[in-house]
Amino acid sequence: MIVKGKSSWASGVGLVLGLLSAITMAIGMYLGLVYAPEDAIQGNAQRIFYIHVPMAWVAFLAFGVVFLAAIMYLWKRALIWDQIARSSAEIGLVFTTLVLVTGSFWGRPIWGTWWTWDARLTTTLLLWFIFLGYFMIRAYAGDRGRAATYSAVIGIIGFFDVPIIYLSVDWWRTLHPQAVISVTSANMPGQMVVALMVCLLAFTLFYLYLMIQKLGIERMKDQLIDYQYALSEREAEGVTTA
């Protein structure tokens, strides 16, 4: 019964977050597509940034959450931390994919290429592979505890690794002179900044909404395992007393 109360609380918060993120998302889209002026150099292609940048933010935020939850899991061994970590990792993997795809859409008209080995792009790609490794080791680990422990290790190592990857690729590039177009213009018009900020907020709310939903599902999966265990225990009880 307590579990039920808790989940209805979570679904209430989830509903509010979902509504809030839908509303801010709509406002953000309006601001990004209509209110903000067309970019002087990049034209309308620049508008993809109102979703691309927030998605990248969510991808890295999700990864940060995985890192913290992973540390907590290894420290406390409480299943809830693994549930948080794997929920966030899954959202992170989806958003990292979207970041790579939207980035390519933008890169094609502006850079004239789908892909370039710039530090940001390479780091995002590598982050995607680390997330992939995170889920692969879970799939092959065998039992639940081992999957949680091993993936937590990947989450922690990956988190420390990402800035170093960025740094090393960045240095590599600066030593190989190459025309890299700067993507962050130092002086964006005020309307663009407002639109971007609203979109960042919208995607953050969306992340929180997805987290609550996903966490609910992951908790249910573990509960199911607990029920199956309880059931087998009851059967075993019957056998021993018979």
């Binding site: 039992d143 395992i225 199956q228 265990y229 225990e233 056998v239 021993t240």
Partner: protein, 253 residues
């Protein structure tokens, strides 16, 4: 047959448990182990005493090996506590490990090293004092003194098992865990095992062994535990048990 003080006390009272004023070497309370969907051990309470020889019987999958692995600190209990020689396994695992010797299905030996090198490696890992003479003593005990400089890979299964027993008692453990020590043992090995069990008794060492061989278990141990579905369903002094009855009980499941 040699009967331990505890067992004789039990016999004297007609098999009824009399509180023994001794400190248990192993104290297990409310121990449960679960692997995801499957429970393996279910709320086990058990005390083992110094000098006791205990046989752990049970069908395949009853949880014998899991119990041994938990006592050896290789596996963590899901709930409950285990204390060995006064140390809790989950708190001071290292202190526990120095008190426990294990003979498992795998010999835990390095095939490319010689018998002596294997023992030397483990002697140093266990910080055995007077390493050289202890190794000689062990090699003599397990009857491998003439093969000391041969690689373990060239040994027969029986010889490897003998060396594995030697490795397990190298650091004079207060608790010796034997997982089916009688399987794959040659005739010489059986003698070695008997000698070592006798030695454990004189040094007040506790022995817990699993076995499939009922006769072996009943004749070697002074106390018999029957594990069924992760629970101890029988705990009795060995001489009080009837082999046929027990055999029927074991094969029923």
């Amino acid at each position: 047959m040699n009967v331990s003080p505890r067992a004789s006390q039990l016999l004297a009272s007609g098999g009824e448990a009399v509180p023994v004023p001794r400190v248990p070497r192993v104290k297990i309370s409310k121990l449960s182990k679960r692997y995801e969907r499957r429970g393996v051990l279910r709320s086990i309470d058990l005390e083992l005493y110094p000098g006791e020889r205990v046989a752990l019987l049970g069908a395949n999958g009853a949880g014998k090996t899991t119990l041994l692995r938990i006592l050896a600190t290789l596996s963590r209990p899901t709930s409950g506590t285990v204390s060995i020689a006064g140390h809790l396994t989950h708190k001071t695992a290292q202190a526990v490990r120095s008190q426990v010797g294990v003979v498992a299905h795998q010999p835990y030996l390095y095939e490319d090293l010689t018998a002596e090198e294997n023992l030397r490696f483990f002697a140093r890992m266990y910080s055995v004092s007077d390493e050289r003479s202890r190794i000689d003593e062990i090699l003599f005990m397990v009857g491998l003194i003439s093969r000391r400089d041969d690689r373990v890979g060239t040994f027969s299964r029986g010889m490897q098992q003998r060396l594995a027993i030697g490795r397990a008692i190298l650091h004079k453990p207060a608790l010796l865990l034997l997982d089916e020590p009688d399987s794959g043992l040659d005739r010489e090995g059986a003698r070695v095992l008997e000698r070592i069990l006798g030695y454990q008794r004189t040094t007040e060492g506790t022995v817990l062994m699993t076995t499939h061989d009922l006769r072996f278990g009943l004749s070697t141990a002074d106390r018999v535990l029957l594990l069924e579905n992760g629970k101890i369903v029988l705990d009795a002094p060995a001489p009080s048990l009837d082999e046929d009855e027990l055999d029927e009980r074991l094969s029923r499941r």
